[in-house]
Amino acid sequence: MTHVIPARTYVNVFMALIALTGLTVAVSFLDLGRAHLWVGLAFGVCKALLVVLFFMHVLSSSKLIWLAAGAGLFWLGILLILTYSDYLTRFRQSY
């Protein structure tokens, strides 16, 4: 790393993470039914992005590190896309 991220940035990211956590927990007390999962995942993606980009320094890292992190996401993508293209296109029945 050629430059050091100031400590203030970490604290700001942390406060954003706490705020998002408070929101996502608060929302779980509403009656959203099936939407709970999607709302929660949306919050989760935002929080994860903050942790990966700032705490894990990816935002200030070289292209190779971006590639490494992106590759992990890509493989996860293969897992999820192939699995769900099967399950989501089945005829839903009770069994």
Partner: protein
């Protein structure tokens, strides 16, 4: 922050198979990311399995939603804050290493380990609370429980959700324990003055592992705890 007991940077320790120190540092960071990619897939497979059941039929989907609303969201939320704080302290430990502040390095690393341990203690309390609440599949579970029957949730499918809950949080806890051990080892080495602005990669890559464990929890929270409606009156320890 007043710099206390700053360490002078020693010469960069370049291994013979690298051209320069920057290449070595990048390779070491890349190596940790390669490992984290395998970890993404281990946990990813479990997430995929959970979702597959929810897609399979509305019976599974509904049972999972109802069961999720019965997990201890109070402890789950507190644990999330604990883990996020530990990520902050870990990031600050890396920062202290970059700026050569040895006693701050040690302090932040010890705090990170302590917060990780606090998470484990709360998890143990939570598992006991789940036991008291008849939420343990097969061993302590009541299929005729009003919570399931009144909500139209199939008890067998509720038990499957609970299995996902214990196995996923259990695997996460194993990873966290390893992380606590690593951070304590770092704190010991940092106290001996092993890390300075030239030799910081061990702290950095351990930080990557720690943040990854935090990211896993960030996703465990919504799919396990927040997938169903909670009620303020049900909050308890």
């Amino acid at each position: 922050m007043e710099p206390s007991q700053t360490v002078a940077a020693g010469p960069p320790r370049l291994a013979h198979h690298f051209d320069n120190i920057d290449q070595q540092r990048e390779a070491e960071t890349f190596g940790m990311w390669a490992f984290l990619c395998t970890e993404i897939l281990i946990f990813g497979a479990m997430f995929a399995g959970y979702g597959a059941y929810r897609c399979l039929s509305s019976d599974y989907d509904h049972a999972f939603e109802v069961a999720s609303g019965r997990l201890n969201v109070l402890i789950g939320a507190i644990n999330t804050v604990v883990l996020l704080t530990s990520s902050l302290t870990m990031a600050l430990a890396v920062y202290a290493t970059h700026t050569g502040q040895r006693s701050l390095q040690v302090r932040w690393l010890l705090l990170t380990a302590a917060l990780g341990a606090a998470f484990m203690v709360l998890k143990a309390i939570e598992y006991y609370s789940d036991y008291r609440d008849w939420l343990v599949p097969v061993m302590r579970f009541n299929p005729n429980d009003a919570r399931w029957l009144n909500a139209g949730a199939d008890p067998q499918r509720v038990q499957l959700f609970l299995m996902f809950y214990y196995i996923m949080t259990g695997l996460h806890a194993v990873h966290l324990t390893v992380g606590i051990g690593l951070v304590l080892w770092l704190a010991h080495r940092a106290h001996r003055g092993a890390y300075d602005p030239e030799h910081y990669i061990p702290v950095e890559v351990t930080g990557l592992y720690w943040h990854f464990v935090d990211v896993v929890w960030i996703f465990l929270l919504p799919i396990l705890y927040l997938a169903g409606t909670h009620h303020l009156r049900d909050l308890h320890f």
